[in-house]
């Protein structure tokens, strides 16, 4: 199924594959949540993963940076590649992988004990890779990258948790950007935010994709249609359809996809 999608509908600008997902199956204890997923995620694009609750979207995105295995009893089989390298390979350190594949979570989770500035620099401090002389520059670049700089530049030393929910989520994005990842995973980044904050994040995603490869899980189909170039539709742990977003929403080839996007279930 995987090659067929891309061979029959070549993307408008052919971009190299950044993340490869090959026959990935995942379990929590004895409960299997992913049943053999195949996907090729192109570089510098936005790929949305949609599907009803419990379909395995979060598990899939969390397996991309090996966060899945941090849950007790979690297990995974299959191959996931970053630039062709198996990230589950024996000599791969998940810690180093996560520096290249950043993640933004559903609920904004800035570190409560840290100021805005320290939150941005947290990743570099935690990995002992902060060049102090560049701290100010990194802070500004990351906050500008997350479209938050103008709102916080005069209060970088106030606690990160003093910001509004939408600002906190952009702070979390800035925190991810500061470690200079190549891929940014977003697990329902707007589900805890109001519409205004949501649209700011969506605008931000548009800008970020010129630099980063973005994978976003969303339960909101309109959001997937607005922000993504490619969309994957998951149902009960299976990949039903994966193609260009436009095509998936206008002429889905699977009836289950059509039923879902027209609101017949979910």
């Amino acid at each position: 199924m995987r090659p067929a999608v891309f061979q029959s509908t070549p993307p408008p600008r052919p971009s190299p594959v950044k993340l490869g997902v090959d026959q990935v199956r995942a379990w929590f204890g004895s409960h299997q949540v992913l049943h053999g997923i195949d996907m090729q995620i192109p570089e510098q694009s936005v790929t949305a993963i949609i599907g009803p609750s419990g379909c395995g979207k979060s598990t899939l995105i969390r397996s991309l940076n090996r966060m899945h295995e941090l849950t007790e009893g979690a297990r995974l089989e299959g191959r996931i590649t970053l630039d062709g390298v198996d990230v589950y390979g024996k000599d791969v350190d998940p810690v180093l992988l996560r520096r290249r594949v950043g993640m933004v979570f559903q609920k904004p989770n800035p570190f409560p004990s840290m100021s805005i500035r320290d939150n941005v620099l947290a990743g570099l401090r935690l990995t002992r890779s902060l060049d102090r002389s560049r701290a100010a520059e990194i802070t500004e670049t990351a906050l500008r990258g997350a479209a938050l700089w103008d709102e916080v530049k005069d209060r970088l030393d106030t606690p990160g948790v003093s910001l509004s929910g939408g600002q906190q989520q952009r702070l979390c994005i800035a925190r991810s950007l500061a470690v200079a990842p190549e891929v940014l995973l977003m697990d329902e980044p707007c589900s805890a935010l109001d519409p205004v904050a949501t649209s700011r994040i969506e605008d931000l995603i548009h800008t970020l994709k010129t630099t980063y490869t973005i994978v976003i899980v969303t339960h909101n189909m309109q959001q997937a249609a607005r922000v993504s170039d490619y969309t994957a539709f998951l149902l009960t742990g299976e990949l039903v359809e994966f193609s260009e977003t436009n095509r998936l929403f206008t002429s889905p080839r699977d009836t289950r996809t059509e039923d879902y996007i027209t609101g017949k279930f979910g």
């Binding site: 940076n65 966060m67 941090l70 007790e72 810690v95 180093l96 992988l97 996560r98 520096r99 950043g102 993640m103 979570f105 609920k107 989770n109 800035p110 570190f111 409560p112 004990s113 840290m114 947290a122 990743g123 401090r125 935690l126 990995t127 002992r128 948790v161 979390c172 925190r175 991810s176 470690v179």
Partner: protein
């Protein structure tokens, strides 16, 4: 979801005639009795506290009328039981401070490390064994600790420190540290364990490994709870009686030398209560003055601890 809402709307229509009759009636008598009994139990603790405070205040006032507050603050000797009476509180305060400091110096690192181990590194199974074992340590009667300090720890220490007295602050402080260590470990473990998983995940997602995540994210996030546990432990050490009464000697010295005998505020109260000091005398009243000072000290620390843990809860 939508389907169940529709069901709820159709079946849940209120029947107005039925509810009107159901509203009338008196709560059963038994229920009122239980409520009164519960209120009584609650009030009893309030009365006890008020009673203690009043006794402390009245007796202390009588003492201050006779001796004055300047003696308490400016004298450097505490000899109310001798012919040449001095009422300087400092020797007792120094004794209490010394044993408490030694205790905290032992309990803080041990408690923090075992809490971090239990909460962050131990497997769920190890945690289920370790935590009750540690809490059992807190349940050992303090008299047992006291004799342990006197007949085991002191002789052992004397091999290393030859001029250590048979009664000394060091041994009592060390054993007291072992006693309050579970308190710090248990409360700190609770604080660490309740740090949201999302914060750890945020750190891991940034490429942090385990130890930096624990030290720079989890521990700071639990700081409120940790400091509350430490203050509670200090308060416990200040109020601890049996160990210091048995193992630290009962000689008030204004010193911070841990090798010599000292007397803490609590040990002094024991000494006078056990003797044949007649009620109403000046000697008798001194224990209430010391009791008041002790109460103010521990009360202040408990308030601080409460504030810290509340601030901590507000932060998360």
């Amino acid at each position: 979801m939508r389907a169940s809402e529709t069901i709820a709307m159709t079946t849940g229509s209120p029947d107005s005639t039925r509810t009107a009759t159901e509203l009338r009636g008196v709560p059963p008598r038994g229920e009122r009795l239980i409520e009164m009994a519960l209120a009584g139990a609650g009030l009893l603790t309030v009365f006890t506290t008020v009673g203690i405070l009043m006794v402390l205040a009245v007796e202390s006032f009588e003492f201050l009328k006779q001796v004055g507050i300047t003696a308490l603050i400016f004298d450097t000797q505490w000899t109310p039981l001798f012919a040449d009476k001095h009422f300087g509180l400092w020797p007792l305060l120094a004794g209490t401070a010394l044993t408490s400091l030694i205790a905290i110096a032992v309990a803080l690192p041990l408690g923090l490390l075992s809490a971090i181990f239990m909460s962050e590194l131990a497997s769920e199974r190890a945690r289920k064994i370790l935590k009750p074992a540690l809490e059992m340590l807190a349940g050992v009667p303090t008299i047992v600790y006291g004799y342990f300090a006197l007949v085991v720890v002191t002789p052992l220490l004397q091999r290393v420190i030859p001029d250590l007295g048979g009664f000394n602050a060091l041994s009592a402080g060390l054993v007291m540290g072992i006693m309050i260590m579970p308190l710090i470990a248990s409360l700190t473990e609770d604080a660490l364990y309740s740090v949201p998983r999302s914060l750890r995940e945020a750190a891991y997602a940034l490429g942090a490994s385990k130890v930096p995540t624990i030290l720079r994210v989890v521990v700071p996030a639990a700081m409120g709870g940790i400091s509350a546990s430490v203050i509670l432990a200090v308060s416990r050490a200040v109020g601890e009686t049996m160990i210091v009464a048995i193992a630290a000697g009962q000689e008030p010295h204004l010193t911070l030398d841990p090798r010599v005998p000292i007397e803490t505020m609590t040990a002094y109260i024991v000494q006078v209560s056990l003797g044949d000091t007649p009620a109403g005398t000046l000697e008798y009243r001194t224990i209430f003055v010391v009791g008041t000072a002790l109460f103010l000290l521990t009360f202040g620390m408990n308030v601080l601890s409460y504030r810290l843990s509340r601030r901590f809860r507000g932060a998360t």
